[in-house]
């Protein structure tokens, strides 16, 4: 017998192929935490933005894209922004 092999990951047609960081940026923008249109300087610090998101959702306030925060961002939710930006 051969050892079971794990199939490689597949990009399924119709699904976005995003990294966690890209997903997080998209999340922060979509729900109003981050407004890139008002940011002329591309060098922005996300710490306060992430902290605000963590505060709003009652997560540990680390200011980092840690596992808990990424996981929360992947939870199903309402599309209405948390911050009217």
């Amino acid at each position: 017998f051969s050892a079971p092999s794990t199939p490689p990951l597949e990009t399924f047609p119709g699904e976005p192929d995003m990294t966690d960081t890209e997903m997080a940026m998209s999340y922060l923008q979509r729900f109003g935490y981050l407004n890139l249109k008002k940011t002329s300087n591309a060098m922005i610090s996300l710490k306060s933005t992430i902290t605000r998101m963590q505060q709003t959702l009652g997560l540990p306030e680390t200011g980092e894209l840690d596992e808990t925060t990424i996981s929360a961002m992947k939870q199903p939710r309402c599309g209405v922004p948390d911050v009217l930006n």
Partner: protein
């Protein structure tokens, strides 16, 4: 809770219309879920909701996928479930109040496929999965035992004993929406000169499966949408189709749904025999999302509620299934802030709900208007204790965390400090010595935790405050050992270590551009707050006014 700047409907007799339905549920189940979701709010307010079938309603409800007619597209399965617009005039055209549901989700009542039967002898009851028939167990609808190929299910666990059954959703039974008044599909039908012998999404960009309800769509233009078969895949690129077992994926054969190839480990299947060649796939059905719960949340937005930061609140932004749903005190306080409470006898369903809420969560807001912090006009006192705002009124205190924007209360003051007076004029926390000072009239109390220090209450003359001062209305810590006590138009600087006043000043000498007759003065973090009527002034440590705002709207997010 939060509102959208208190935007609300100007009338209480609201109408709603269901513009489109999901293929996941029988339209009657959708109607019922929405009606129950509206009832969540009408049970605790004077609002009424009437469903209309034609014309523009206050709240237009629809299902859609991706780009669905407004500037906020949905995102496929999971992620965004739904969104809704607050009340208002001329908001994005006629969108105000409208609620949209992402039809790339699998809509259920929260616990797996909700399959309502038609015909048979079960009076439209839901299928019971699994059920036994002829000694065999079935987890889905079946055509077994019938020669006409119609699929059916038992509505109890044991068909052999109970003999109750009904027919499962199928395009040969009925269609949804369209212009054919629920008539079944006619196969084959002609569309664009081509014959179709099953439902198709050809001719549409939204992926909805449809059929003609006469033999020739090109001539008659009669059509309807096909109900999703039980066990149909969800989303992917073959929504509504069935898994094709076995199928080939990366050269391997699969006889059941699999998580292979997916980093998120969600279960999927191919809808043709060869994924590698056809690339047609979808997710296997799971518990799905409760249309009732999501709708109740969205209708909260439709009525003017923004997201709550309390995880137990219906208006918390993330989805969480709860079997025995009860509206939280936070949601009730929010909606009643906008529309008031339901009039009438207390034996109404409203009081049942709210009584349950106040029984299970005694320390949080009830529907009593005086218990709603947003209805308090002038607070007895405000203080910052353990970095949390404390708002005092009539023997109660609300705790408000500005960081989390969450309100706890009303809590009886006696619960926090058993021997404290019910009417509090000022309070402050001596962080270094972990004591709380409370002022009421010409007396003051000192607590360590919940315990009153021996010898208290004492008269404020012991602090060196004039006998002409009727009350202390503010207290601000200054450094490690001194506190500024506000009374009349003066400030007494009190040395906590030496237990004596070492300087007396006039308020106007030290603090400029703030009212000298404030209702309350306190310090929170590094800022000093002056409250007067409905306004507050915020000062930095250099005594410069850095912000002026509304107490309720800005500070409390009412």
């Amino acid at each position: 809770y939060k509102t959208f700047d208190d935007e609300k409907w100007s009338h209480t007799d609201l109408t709603y219309s269901i513009v489109s339905y999901t293929p996941d549920l029988d339209p009657l189940v959708v109607d019922d879920a929405f009606a129950r979701a509206f009832k969540v709010w009408s049970d605790v307010t004077p609002l009424t909701f009437t469903k209309i079938n034609n014309g523009e309603a206050d709240i237009m409800v629809q299902f859609g996928r991706e780009w669905h007619g407004d500037p906020y597209p949905f995102d496929g399965m999971d992620g965004l479930l739904a969104h809704a617009y607050p009340p208002g005039e001329n908001l994005y055209g006629k969108l105000h109040g409208d609620a949209h549901f992402d039809d790339d989700e699998f809509w259920t009542l929260g616990k797996g496929p909700a399959v309502k039967t038609r015909f048979g002898n079960a009076d439209g009851a839901f299928c019971h999965f699994p059920f036994t028939f002829n000694g065999k167990t079935y987890k889905t609808c079946t055509a077994d035992g019938r020669e006409d190929g119609r699929i059916w299910c038992s509505t109890t666990a044991d068909y052999d004993n109970d003999k109750t059954f009904g027919f499962c959703p199928h395009e040969l039974l009925y269609t949804i929406g369209g212009n054919s008044d629920s008539s079944p599909c006619v196969f084959p039908f002609v569309f664009d000169g081509k014959n179709y012998d099953q439902c198709t999404s050809e001719g549409r960009q939204d992926g909805y499966r449809w059929c003609a309800t006469t033999r020739n769509f090109d001539v008659d233009k009669k059509y309807g949408f096909c109900p999703s078969p039980v066990n149909a895949v969800v989303s992917g690129n073959a929504d509504g189709e069935l898994c094709s077992f076995p199928f080939t994926f990366l050269g391997e054969r699969y006889d059941a749904c699999t998580t292979a190839g997916r980093p998120d480990e969600r279960s999927w299947c191919a809808t043709t025999s060869n994924f590698d060649k056809d690339k047609k796939w979808g997710f296997c059905p799971n518990a799905g999302y409760s249309l009732f719960l999501v709708a109740a949340h969205e209708f909260g937005h439709s009525l003017g509620l923004d997201h709550s930061s309390l995880k137990d609140a219906l208006m918390y932004p993330q989805y969480r299934y709860s079997e025995n749903f009860k509206l939280s005190g936070d949601d009730i306080a929010g909606i009643q802030h906008l529309y008031g409470s339901k009039p009438g006898p207390t034996s109404s369903p409203t009081s049942t709900t709210t009584a349950a809420v106040s029984t299970t969560v005694p320390s949080t807001t009830t529907i009593d208007p005086v218990a709603d912090i947003c209805k308090v006009n002038i607070f007895d006192a405000v203080a910052s204790i353990k970095k949390t705002f404390h708002f005092f009124k009539n023997g109660y205190v609300w705790k408000f965390t500005s960081a989390k924007k969450s309100i706890m209360g009303p809590i009886p003051i006696a619960k926090l400090w058993p021997k404290a007076p019910s009417k509090i004029d000022a309070a402050f926390e001596d962080i270094n010595r972990q004591k709380v000072y409370i002022f009421s009239g010409r007396s003051y109390w000192v607590f360590s935790g919940k315990s009153l220090e021996p010898g208290y209450p004492k008269d404020i003359s012991k602090l060196g405050i004039d006998t002409s001062i009727e009350r202390v209305f503010g207290a601000v810590m200054k450094g490690q050992r001194k506190v500024l006590l506000f009374g009349g138009q003066k400030i007494w600087r009190f040395d906590l270590m030496a237990q004596k006043v070492d300087r007396i000043s006039r308020i106007s000498q030290i603090f400029r551009h703030v009212p000298i007759n404030a209702d309350s003065v306190f310090m929170h973090k590094t800022s000093i707050y002056f409250l007067q009527e409905k306004y507050f002034w915020k000062m930095n440590r250099n005594y410069q006014v850095i912000f002026v705002g509304y107490i309720k709207r800005t500070l409390l997010n009412c």
